[in-house]
Symmetry: C2
């Protein structure tokens, strides 16, 4: 999503246009960025009624001690706005997959806690999702140096604030970043 075949010349500001190899890479990535998550999400919804955000929440919770996380921490982990996460957790808790408990050490905070039912749902959804990830993503990376790929792609994601859930790195300088509760 970058170039018009007319006007191939360099831009006023002197930013060098993409060369053909770069352009091919970018166009491929741009398309994958649209298609891959939709495909995986469609599979997830069809099989288990979970969208990617919901699956992601369950997965993140399952990986944390006590299967619980603070809302804001979780929002960050799944790259959702805090308000967005509130609603996701609300949906999940209506289905009994997650419960919310007040944080003992900071009554403002909420812990989202994965229930046994939630864990079971995740376990049920996992194989199919894994299969989708393999088929739609990993299987195409056979000729690629995975370490370099992960590094490169990881840096894209890490780079910028990129709304909404602003990176917790790059916080306003000198904020101690304490965290009371677990």
């Amino acid at each position: 999503m970058t170039k018009r075949s007319s006007a191939p010349a360099a831009t006023k500001a002197g930013i060098r246009p993409l060369n053909p190899a770069e352009e091919a890479a970018w166009r491929a990535l741009a398309r994958a960025i649209l298609v891959v998550p939709r495909t995986l999400e469609a599979e997830l919804i069809e099989a288990h009624g979970l969208n990617l955000a919901e699956y992601s929440v369950l997965m993140n919770l399952s990986e944390h001690p006590d299967r619980a996380m603070r809302m804001s921490e979780l929002a960050d982990a799944v790259a959702l706005s805090v308000s967005g996460l509130t609603r996701v957790v609300e949906r999940l808790s209506r289905q009994g997959l997650v419960t919310r408990v007040r944080c003992e050490t900071d009554a403002r905070g909420q812990l989202a806690h994965l229930t046994d039912a939630g864990f079971a749902t995740l376990e049920a959804a996992y194989p199919r999702h894994l299969e989708g990830v393999r088929r739609h993503v990993m299987d195409h990376l056979v000729d690629v140096d995975l370490a370099k790929f992960a590094d490169a792609v990881g840096n894209m994601a890490a780079a910028e604030p990129g709304p909404p859930a602003r990176r917790s790195a790059g916080r306003p300088p000198s904020v101690p970043a304490k965290r009371a509760g677990r």
Copy 2:
């Protein structure tokens, strides 16, 4: 978005879990898929009031003969549902960036046509967007074999139907796939 650190064992269906390198690659990609488009879109909106879909429409039109495309063709190109595209084009046409003309050879069809104003807007938006693509994406791919990358990532996108704008390849067998227009 794939694994729980508990339950590392193979799944019932026998799908092999991701090994650490694969997992790192997938997690990096999963995050980039969320973050990169948001970052680029935020820049685009801030600078020119265009979201990615709108920019994409303008760009695709600019690359086609007569700067015009059929609605459904365009929907496919920008990976939007047909109804979604209708509204994007409607927004753009309210801004005078695009006009709609009935297709001469098939009165059911509509041609979205990029206006001079639309082209000018695209030209204005291009440098900044290009710069964003370089900074957020290409600059991180320096150590990567671009050809392999493009190939791999391109196949991800090409692989599956993946709603909504179902791939025009893989159409129900034996439909002639004729196209009257333009």
